[in-house]
């Protein structure tokens, strides 16, 4: 089995985990959630194995490099970071229903990687600009940031849904974690994401300076990452100083996620230096 085949199975695995979480929520039974958890664990292990297999395969082709160099590889890694971070939260908070809103994101990333006609799964050699020790540090930190913001987004959606809970304590929404827990989790994920996004932007700037002689050149990807940073900085200031909670924070977290998505995908439709990420 090669990495591509294994990663197709991983796509399927995330799909199964997401479905089982959903089944557990809709039928309000804990057993499917248990199954979901174990399939998520297996899938994340498979995802990690696929990542390392691809790394090894590139060495066998004589063009060895960390599999973080194009859209396909970044999506595989994005799914992996979401998976790892989600499992950590499920174990820490013992609340499987967050999985209903987190695992589909990993599934979508993998499905987009495998099915989009614009994305090639071929292992390609590194272009000169990407040959740098900063590649791993930059991509790793950026994607942990992205994963944290994605989960914050999922939890914010849960919060906004939870608001509509019926007062008699019945219905599907009653099963979701309490609002203050969701609000706190959003905030924590944003803190974590903000740290990693900052480090990601900084490692990118240091790298750009060693490759092109300029740590900041207002390239669209750089600019959009800064826009994302501004949105989350706004969220943190609004919360810490002005005491914003709940709904307002959830909306800001969703806006931040949209900016993040644009930094990740949208920018590929604009011309600029980061074009190797788009194929």
């Amino acid at each position: 089995m090669n990495s591509s085949e294994l990663l197709s199975v991983v796509t399927f695995g995330y799909g199964i985990a997401a479905t089982l979480y959903l089944v557990s929520w809709i039928f309000q039974k804990p057993f499917p959630a248990q199954l979901a958890k174990w399939s998520a664990v297996l899938t994340v292990i498979g995802n990690l194995a696929g990542f390392f297999m691809r790394w090894a395969e590139s060495y066998r082709l004589g063009i060895g490099h960390a599999p973080l160099s194009n859209m396909y590889e970044s999506l595989v890694f994005f799914a992996l970071t979401i998976g790892v971070l989600y499992l950590f939260i499920e174990i820490r908070y013992r609340s499987p229903l967050i999985g209903v809103f987190a695992t589909p994101l990993a599934f979508l990333a993998m499905a987009y990687a495998s099915m989009s006609p614009n994305i090639s799964a071929r292992i390609q050699p590194l272009v000169p600009a990407l040959k740098s020790n900063w590649l791993i540090a930059h991509v790793l930190t950026c994607f942990f940031g992205y994963a944290a913001f994605s989960i914050a987004f999922g939890v914010s959606i849960m919060y906004l849904l939870k608001q509509r809970e019926r007062s008699d304590g019945k219905g599907l929404l009653a099963y979701l974690p309490k609002m203050n827990i969701l609000d706190d989790l959003t905030h924590r994920m944003v803190l974590f994401g903000f740290l990693f996004l900052s480090v990601g932007i900084i490692t990118g700037a240091v790298w750009a300076n060693s490759a092109w002689g300029s740590y900041w050149s207002w390239d669209p990807k750089e600019t959009w990452s800064l826009i994302t940073w501004f949105v989350y900085a706004t969220l943190l200031h609004a919360r810490l100083i002005r005491g914003w909670y709940g709904k307002k924070i959830a909306y800001l977290s969703i806006i931040g996620f949209v900016a993040m998505l644009f930094t990740y995908f949208g920018v590929n439709y604009l011309p600029g230096l980061h074009s190797y990420g788009s194929f």
Partner: protein, 471 residues
């Protein structure tokens, strides 16, 4: 007095911070949609007379350096400084008190605390409790009370400064950027193999900058992978002082040469034509273009002349080469020699297209129905004449930025500041032991300015270590 000044009041408000951050976020989008620093003609073609005039007045074509964007940044800096002064004045005494005092009653008032009893008397517990406390949290202050004793310790009080550390890092970044723009430069130069230069061209202005030494290009080598994509661009450079070599180094992308505060980066390359050894090898009279039509997968080669429209096969529209530039800028980045043309798709709007001579895949980024590329001069040459070794020139980005270390310090300060602000807190812990009959009553309580949940867990853990029975 400061409280009454309305300008001061404006600058110490977080509302202003939120407005400024969101304004910066929203206005920054414009510059990612409108290409920056392109030629006036290109903008005129793209936007028409009215929008061109409007954008020009608003400095949209170089918006990140425009007066209004810089003003937003300046306001943000004033906001950061004013807020820091205002808040620091209030919390300074809290962060650096002359003497730390504590009262057990402060902790007794807390809602969340652990209470339990021990069958021994307070005197018997003191040594053991002090040891456990020291190991789990830090060395405590022991105070005798009427009924027994209290242990108290605090740590990380200074982390209350974290937020000021993060904010100061932004001042570092701005200061570094200003030093760079005042005392540095960003230029480029093309050096044919075997030749040397002592000056470079400044980007955007085209001014000449003398270096005070010479750069000699000994050799340029381009290697490719089996599939033809570029693997490495390598230039062997020698620095000459008064004609004498002082330093020789091979540079590749991601591994520049630094000399006397000036850095040389591998940025582009090209071929020197045998006839005119000075200029790059492209002749504007004989342009071969390849049109790749996505729908059919066909490639058509056509000869073009500047200013003369070409029909693209399969009814895909018209293309006309407008200009040849020896070093074209794209999004502010030098992409070397390039053709600039106007593509008018069938039934569509005309658009400007940049075709760098050296990057045949460049036009794919546009994601159009047709991908246009310039047929490589050396591809043609290999068919035709001149089987001799090609002579290259190397394109270097030459940068002096004395502010970069200030910026890097800012980066380190920012990361440290964020970790301190987000993940560390000022923690205070108190264990109070008082006699109750023949037994001791024990209270364990803690206060943290952040992550109160985490502090609660710590309090429970320490209470367990001191003998609180499991629940």
């Amino acid at each position: 007095m400061a409280d009454k000044n309305p300008i001061w009041k404006l600058f110490v408000s977080i509302r202003l911070t939120v407005v400024l951050l969101l304004s910066l976020a929203v206005t920054s989008i414009i510059g990612t949609l409108v290409p920056q620093n392109a030629s006036a003609e290109a903008y005129f073609h793209k936007y028409g007379a009215f929008l061109y005039r409007l954008f020009d007045i608003l400095n949209i074509f170089d918006m990140y350096h425009s007066w209004w964007f810089q003003l937003l940044l300046l306001l943000l800096i004033c906001n950061i400084i004013a807020c820091s002064i205002d808040r620091l004045a209030g919390t300074w005494k809290l962060i650096f008190p002359k003497e730390t005092t504590f009262k057990p009653s402060t902790f007794q008032k807390l809602k969340k605390k652990e209470n339990f009893t021990d069958s021994r008397l307070p005197e018997e517990l003191e040594t053991e409790f002090t040891a456990v406390f020291t190991k789990a949290f830090g060395h405590p202050r022991v105070e005798k009370t009427d009924q027994g004793f209290s242990l108290f310790a605090e740590k990380w009080r200074w982390t209350r400064l974290g937020v000021y550390i993060v904010h100061s890092s932004i001042l570092f970044l701005i200061a570094g950027a200003m030093i760079g723009s005042m005392f540095g430069f960003e230029g480029y130069v093309n050096i044919p193999e075997g030749e040397s230069v002592d000056h470079v061209q400044i980007r955007n202005t085209g001014r000449t900058q003398h270096l005070g030494f010479e750069i000699q290009c000994n050799d340029f080598e381009l290697s490719t992978y089996k599939n033809g994509s570029p693997k490495e661009y390598r230039s062997s450079l020698t620095i000459l002082e008064n004609g004498k070599p002082v330093l020789t180094k091979d540079i590749i992308v991601n591994d520049p040469l630094h000399y006397k505060g000036i850095s040389l980066f591998q940025s582009s390359y090209g071929e020197v034509s045998p006839e005119h050894t000075e200029a790059p090898s492209f002749s504007a009279e004989d342009i071969q273009l390849a049109f790749f039509v996505n729908a059919s997968g066909m490639v058509y080669k056509r000869t073009a002349e500047i200013g003369k429209p070409l029909e693209i096969p399969e009814g895909m529209g018209k293309f006309v080469v407008m200009d040849f530039k020896e070093s074209a800028l794209f999004m502010g980045q030098n992409i070397g020699a390039a053709l600039v043309g106007i593509l008018t798709p069938e039934g569509g709007e005309p658009a400007e297209v940049t075709l760098p001579i050296e990057f045949p895949n460049f036009d794919k980024m546009r994601r159009g129905d047709v991908v246009i590329s310039v047929v490589h001069q050396h591809e043609k040459q290999s068919h035709e004449k001149n089987p001799e070794k090609k002579r290259y020139y190397t394109g270097l980005q030459v940068v002096k930025d004395p502010g970069v270390w200030v910026v890097y310090s800012g980066f380190i300060v920012m990361i440290a500041g964020i970790i301190i602000t987000f993940f560390m807190s000022h923690q205070r812990l108190c264990v109070d032991v008082s006699r109750k009959g023949n037994k001791s009553r024990i209270m364990v309580a803690g206060i943290a300015n952040k992550n109160k949940l985490g502090m609660g867990i710590k309090v429970e853990k320490i209470a367990r270590l001191l003998g609180n029975p499991e629940k």
